[in-house]
Amino acid sequence: MKLHKSRRVAPAVPLASMGDIAFLLTIFFILTSNFAKDDTRKIAPPSAGELEELERQNVSVSIDSEGAMFFNGRPVASPATIEAGVAGFLAGKKAAQDRLVVFRCDKGVDKKVFEPVLAAISKAGGVIAAVGEESRSATRN
């Protein structure tokens, strides 16, 4: 008697839901991403001991190695412009947590450049969140 050969079904990977999975991942990344406003490639951060973790903020001021100043990633000419910009962003905010301004500065920049900027942020009512790197040798000292 002849036995009927069962038809072999070609193995197929189910790809129908791949697009859905990919879009779910995309939505996840969109919601959790923080787009970098500042180009930090030209900023070598200073190091110190006993630093704490800082929360990301909407307002940022940075000074690169050439002394160029940036407010929220846009180049600005003077500390006065930074003061006006920070004051505008912080208008109506009273709690210290809401007035944080992320400050990045290259470690080699001279005080004649960064000190007026620090003063401008404080005059505008900002609380400076100075970004740096944890230095292990500094904590041992």
């Binding site: 790809l15 791949m18 697009g19 990919a22 879009f23 991942l25 995309t26 990344f29 969109i30 959790t32 991403s33 923080n34 787009f35 970098a36 200073p46 190091s47 110190a48 001991g49 006993e50 630093l51 704490e52 973790e53 800082l54 929360e55 990301r56 210290a96 944080l100 992320v102 500065c105 290259d106 470690k107 080699g108 920049v109 001279d110 005080k111 960064f114 000190e115 007026p116 620090l118 003063a119 942020i121 404080s122 005059k123 609380v127 400076i128 969140a129 100075a130 970004v131 740096g132 790197e133 944890e134 500094a138 000292n141």
Partner: protein, 137 residues
């Protein structure tokens, strides 16, 4: 003709084969642009510059850190960075209130941000409030 009417109508479909490719390209974009590193540093609320100057003149007892041409002075005595941290901790600034927490920071001559940052971090870690004394032009 009847034959023409029977012509099968093609079902209209949106081509979705490349949707997953597009989505994965977006994922790769977001992975590359996401910053996973966390910010570290310290927070400091600086009193206004004008108030600092008045404070410096009126209150001689306010602890003062001076940076001048590579030298670090605490209350006009040269100290190392480690000694400065100890001296600031000894002041127990965190237990004080209001203006008693202020530590004046005065820089003269050429001072880079690295040195300035270390001093500010030390003052903040000790619970002090940094008050910048700006150099007169």
């Amino acid at each position: 003709m009847a034959l023409a009417r029977r012509r099968e109508q093609c079902e209209l479909e949106i081509p979705t084969d490349s949707v997953s490719d597009i989505a994965f390209l977006l994922i790769i974009f977001f992975i590359l642009t996401t910053t996973l590193n966390k910010l570290s540093g310290f927070t400091a609320e600086l009193p206004s510059a004008a108030a600092n100057q008045q404070q410096a003149k009126s209150d001689a007892k306010t602890p003062t850190v001076q940076l001048a041409n590579g030298k670090l002075l605490f209350d006009e005595r040269e100290v190392s960075m480690a000694a400065l941290r100890e001296r600031l901790l000894d002041l127990r600034l965190a237990n004080r209130q209001g203006e008693e927490r202020i530590v004046m920071l005065e820089a003269a001559g050429q001072v880079d941000y690295q040195t300035y940052y270390e001093v500010m971090a030390a003052i903040s870690a000790a619970g002090g409030v940094v008050a910048i004394v700006e150099e007169d032009e």
